[in-house]
Amino acid sequence: MSLWPVVIAAGALTFLIRLSFIALLANREMPPVVQRALGLVPPAVLTAIVFPELLVLNGQIAATLDNHRLIAGVLAMMVAWRFKKIMPTIVVGMVALWLLQWLDR
């Protein structure tokens, strides 16, 4: 079986999902409650991406101090909060994770 039709269909569907509301909501004003709901998408989605990365370890919830990713992630959050810059956040988080892993060998 050739993969090409599968790849093209998957790509087309992905594109259509991304285009969906951009095309549909083109010419209408949205009610305030919908606007408010859409304004909450970034905070809700971003933590939904981040939290499991920090709190789920090997398929289990690990809210403990020996969870290196959790400690490094919280540190990175503090850096992000204080300096509001992406690069220092990534660098501090990564160095913290390496240090913790190295100390724990």
Binding site: L3, A44, I86
Partner: protein, 238 residues
């Protein structure tokens, strides 16, 4: 005597917005590149031909979906299963589409199509923050385009590196953590008030509780719960 004034470009020209988008996205590329490399390596490892592996990055252009699809291809899943799974994994982009729609509604159709193609998690996060923090500024879609192109280029190039490198980055380097850190950096600026924080906390904890759900369904459920909690908090405060 002729006095020459240096003319500084305001951030409102298309060109300035575009380069500003490129520049603001550049730190994110550190987080995105390792993933492209890992994807390329994985695709070759499960036996996807090189041209096909690169074409998937071009045609689908969606990190998590590509990882899941690659695993399914490796496991010999049918085409229909692969297509359906990609669809479910990418459903969260409908939320991004709805959220960014009000800002791009005046744009011509070609623009909407191009920006939709570029609407990844990272492009969404960086573009929506710019739209919200610079209300009324013209040419913000050029910023979105700059950010999208930077991420697109990185994804294509890092896929190619992974394909030709062919060897796994050592697991102990934990380079996959850069992606979580990237989203941490993107999260903080969007927390503007108490309602945002409530939405964020509920979204985050529901996602942890629902991590067992397959195909990012936990993420979608969590986002909807977070939005619902935020709306409720907003209603109660009024």
């Amino acid at each position: 005597m002729v006095v020459r004034y240096s003319v500084t470009q305001p951030l409102t020209t298309a060109r300035a917005q575009f380069f500003s988008g490129l520049k603001d996205t550049s730190p994110l590329l550190v987080g995105a590149a390792p993933f492209g490399i890992i994807y390329g390596v994985l695709a070759i490892a499960v036996g996807i031909p090189q041209v096909m592996a690169q074409a998937i990055s071009l045609i689908v252009f969606a990190g998590s979906a590509q990882f899941v699809a690659t695993q399914l291809i490796g496991a010999g899943a049918s085409g229909l299963v692969i297509i359906l799974t990609t669809f479910i994994v990418n459903l969260r982009h409908a939320l991004y589409s709805a959220s960014i729609a009000p800002y791009v509604r005046e744009l011509p159709r070609t623009w909407k199509w191009v920006l939709s193609y570029l609407l990844t998690d990272e492009a969404y996060a960086i573009a929506i923050a710019h739209y919200r923090d610079n209300a009324g500024e013209p040419n913000r879609h050029w910023y979105f385009l700059g950010a999208g192109i930077a991420l697109w280029g990185t994804w294509q190039a890092s896929t190619a590196v992974g394909i030709f490198l062919g060897t796994e980055i050592p697991h102990e380097w934990s380079l996959d953590f850069t992606l979580a850190l990237t989203f941490i950096a993107l999260l903080v600026p969007v927390l503007r008030n108490r309602t945002d924080v409530i939405a964020a906390l509920v979204g985050g904890f529901v996602a942890v509780a629902a991590f067992g759900l397959p195909y990012k369904l936990g993420l979608i459920l969590a986002a909807l719960c977070g939005i619902g909690a935020g709306l409720l908090a907003w209603r109660l405060r009024k």
